[in-house]
Structure formats: structure tokens, C-alpha cells
């Protein structure tokens, strides 16, 4: 695997905005996220495919995924 393929995405969560609805956790196709109390957290960063579904369906501007 080349260097580029190994580069991990940067998942930015804003705990001040997350309301813990769990939409991003439920729709993530590769189980990257989990709820910790009322805020989302990253459980398995390496599994993230950068599909952006979490950002697209988060109602609260609380999660974004950058390269």
C-alpha cells in the first residue's frame, strides 16, 4: 500500500453543537462512529471511507470529514 492510501481522514466533531441524535452513527456504512454519552466519537478512524454521509445527514453542523 502506498503512502497516499494510508493517509487517514480528519473527522472534526464539535461537541458544543452535537445533540447526540445518533443519525451519523446509524448511517455510517463502515461503523466508524459511536455515541459516548450524548456526543458522537470516533471509534475506528481507519475504516472511514470519506463518504461524507455523516456530514450530509447531521442536522446540527456538528461533524465534518476532511482529507
Amino acid at each position: 500500500m502506498g503512502e497516499a492510501a494510508k493517509k487517514l481522514p480528519n473527522i472534526v466533531i464539535n461537541p458544543k453543537l452535537c445533540k447526540g441524535c445518533s443519525i451519523c452513527v446509524d448511517f455510517c456504512p463502515t461503523n466508524v462512529l459511536e455515541m459516548r454519552g450524548t456526543c458522537v466519537a470516533v471509534k475506528d478512524l481507519a475504516a472511514c471511507t470519506r463518504c461524507q454521509l455523516c456530514d450530509l445527514r447531521c442536522p446540527d453542523f456538528a461533524i465534518q470529514v476532511f482529507d
Binding site: K16, L17, K19, G20, C21, S22, I23, D26, F27, C28, P29, T49, C51, Q52, L53, D55, L56, R57, C58, P59, D60, F61, Q64, V65, F66
Partner: protein, 287 residues
């Protein structure tokens, strides 16, 4: 549990997106409950506006009253939060005074179709150049979950404890019959498709109506035994709709009872402000 965006992904994806470009500073978190679909719709609208290349100062975002009508408070456009049901008359006034402005209306299904139903049909009839986004959560969210004109038969609401006996409106059929020249439906679940549909609605000249299915987990969800916002999005928005592009290819049983998504009606017809301006000009020239 979920489907990746692969089908929608063919075009260049619009995220990550700098939402702060359009948001008023320090207004977040918004007032909406955890899992409320209104935030998802707001985000799709901002991406569509960006895609359309509209200037912030050349947009007027007008709403009535309701949870959905709180949308203008969060964005850095010219904004107007008016009276329940009256977003369209205010928007009509703005458009008549400033036809150069892009006037967008955000309204709840109660706001648009119950108290504001009369204004809705007449805006459509005039074909005035407004983009009307109806946030359809099938309930009056703000006032505690009374049934609305789009609540399905049998739905439990604060005012229909034994199930709703009133057949719902089909917002798109009404808009089309009343004369709107662009009519579409989207959902919060299909968020990239929704962004595209709103972008198309913004580009259309005339009354454009986009009926947007989104979830009110707090009232509709809890009263109708949905487990979560996700559960509502999967059953009502994903499984409850079918794209106009696929409908002809699917067997009848896969289409039965589902609402159509996508652009449902698009025609050209003279626009109200232009007709009005040309009449004024004609009379000014003494014709």
C-alpha cells in the same frame, strides 16, 4: 443499516462545505430538537445557494411561524420572520418591490397549507418568481404536535389521539393544479438529491415549489412509535418514496403507496412581476 451515496456520487460531491460562509456567527446551536430534519434541509439549501452562485445580499429569505420558520434566523441573508401562514404575502411584496432579488420562502407544512393555504394557491396561480421550500414533517411541531394537512390517515397527533381521519393533501398536486411552474419533492434522507433539486428550483423563473419530507422525532416520531430520527428517515423518507426516474422501471408493488421524488412538473409560463412591469410600461407610454 445504510446505503452509501454511490448512486449520487457520480457528480463532484459538495462536501466538506464551509457552512460558516452563510451562517450568522454565534447563533448555533439552533433551537431544533436532536434529530429534527429541519437542520438537514437548511444545510442542503445552503449548498444549493452556493452552487447557484447567488450573492448573500441579493437573497431575501422569508418565513412564517413554526419550528421550520426559524430557519432565517441562522443565515446571513436579508431575512424576514413574519406571521404564521403569511410568508408568501410578505415575499410577494419583496419580489414586487425588488424583482432583481432572489426571494426564497421557507415554510412548514402547517404554515404553508393550513393557515397559509390560500396564499399558497394564489402565489402558484400568479406564477410569481419565488422559490418555496415546504418543510413537510406532517405535524405542527412548534405548538406540540397537532395534526397538519399532510398528516397521513391514521396518524396519531395531539389532536388525533385515536388516529387521523382527514385525508392528507398532496402538496405537489396542489401546487401543480394551482399553476406553479416548477414542482418537485425531496427528502432530508436523500440530501444530495435535495441539494440538486433546490438548485434547479432556484434556477427556474416562476413559482417553484419543493415539498421536502423531513422528520419531527419529538412529536410525530414519539406519538407514532418510531424508535428514532434514523428510523423515521429510513421508513418515511427512504422506503416511503420513489424517484420519478425509477418509477417506470419498478414493479407495481414497489411503487404502491409511495410518494414520488424528484422534479415532477416543469413548464414555462409568463412570470407575474414581468407581466406587471410590462403593463406599467405600456400604460406609461400612453398605449
Amino acid at each position: 443499516m445504510s446505503t452509501p451515496v454511490s448512486a449520487e456520487k457520480k457528480e463532484k460531491i459538495s462536501v466538506p462545505f464551509d457552512y460558516n460562509k452563510y451562517l450568522r456567527p454565534n447563533k448555533l446551536p439552533h433551537i431544533w430538537c436532536p434529530g429534527c430534519g429541519h437542520g438537514i434541509v437548511l444545510k442542503a439549501m445552503l449548498r444549493a445557494i452556493d452552487k447557484a452562485g447567488l450573492e448573500k445580499d441579493n437573497i431575501a429569505l422569508v418565513s412564517g411561524i413554526g419550528c421550520s420558520s426559524r430557519t432565517p434566523g441562522y443565515v446571513d441573508f436579508n431575512t424576514l420572520h413574519t406571521l404564521h401562514g403569511r410568508a408568501l404575502p410578505f415575499a410577494t411584496g419583496i419580489k414586487m418591490a425588488r424583482p432583481d432579488m432572489k426571494v426564497i420562502v421557507v415554510t412548514g407544512d402547517g404554515d404553508a397549507l393550513a393557515i397559509g393555504g390560500n396564499h399558497f394557491i394564489h402565489a402558484c396561480r400568479r406564477n410569481i418568481d419565488l422559490t418555496v421550500l415546504v418543510f413537510t414533517n406532517a405535524v405542527y411541531g412548534m405548538t406540540g404536535g397537532q395534526y397538519s394537512p399532510t398528516s397521513p390517515l391514521g396518524a396519531i397527533a395531539t389532536t388525533s389521539r385515536y388516529g387521523n381521519v382527514e385525508p392528507p393533501f398532496d402538496t405537489c398536486e396542489i401546487a401543480k393544479a394551482a399553476g406553479a411552474t416548477f414542482v418537485a419533492r425531496g427528502t432530508a434522507y436523500h440530501t444530495l438529491e435535495l441539494e440538486k433539486t433546490i438548485h434547479e428550483a432556484l434556477a427556474h423563473k416562476g413559482t417553484s415549489v419543493v415539498d421536502i419530507l423531513d422528520a419531527c422525532p419529538t412529536y410525530f416520531g414519539r406519538m407514532n412509535k418510531y424508535k428514532s430520527a434514523t428510523h423515521m428517515m429510513e421508513t418515511m423518507e427512504k422506503d416511503g418514496t420513489v424517484s420519478v426516474k425509477q418509477v417506470d422501471k419498478l414493479p407495481a408493488d414497489k411503487v404502491q403507496g409511495k410518494m414520488l421524488r424528484g422534479v415532477l412538473h416543469k413548464i414555462e409560463r409568463p412570470e407575474y412581476c414581468e407581466q406587471y412591469a410590462s403593463l406599467v410600461q405600456e400604460k406609461a407610454q400612453g398605449k
